[in-house]
Symmetry: C2
Subunit: 114 residues, 2 copies
């Protein structure tokens, strides 16, 4: 039988011969891909309620989550400022009550709480 040609070597599993340089290129490409995948996994681990293990979903949900967190930070900062103001107002009020010297002649110290 005359089947001992090159085709015998490069059959079922892409085992064809390559110059060592090209093989390193192949390995470089593969490990780059694997590295990216690890980072995808690392990112997806930080995202709550990740439905689908798809790359597109990881990126999409990462965007949503970052936006949510930034909103949350903003809301908390505002709330925090309110609380600070409230404390200051209360302290001032206490001071007024303690020293008993406030509010009789001025109209800007009309402090009401809701």
């Amino acid at each position: 039988m005359g089947s001992n040609n090159q085709m015998e070597q490069l059959d079922h599993a892409r085992a064809r011969w390559l110059p060592p340089q090209a093989e390193e290129h192949i390995i470089a490409g593969r490990s780059w891909c694997e590295k990216l995948n690890q980072k995808f996994i690392a990112l997806s681990a930080l995202i709550p309620d990740l439905k689908k293990a798809r790359k597109a979903s990881v990126l999409e949900d990462a965007v949503k989550h970052v936006k949510d967190l930034q909103e949350k930070v903003k809301a908390l900062e505002e709330q925090n400022m309110e609380r600070t103001v409230e404390s200051v107002v209360l302290i001032k009020k206490s001071h007024i009550l303690v020293t008993d010297d406030g509010g009789s002649s001025s109209d800007e110290n009309n402090l009401d709480e809701s």
Copy 2:
């Protein structure tokens, strides 16, 4: 020009003929890749101080940024709780001062400010 054989078609720019099915597969693969790239861009737009426009950097810095934001949220929540407690204490104190019924019979209302 007598060179109108198939070689004319598949010359310099991979313009070889393909069955329509395979061509759709090619287009599917390409648009999937483009879609991912758009999401990469969308994510990188949310990340401050992104040095390099590399996919690996986007994923890495996204992880860092999410962690930073989560820490920030936690810190703000704690601070907010402190402020809330402070306000409550001040309100209670004010109430005591106003109603003037505190401290004489109970030892747990010993509120001091520093």
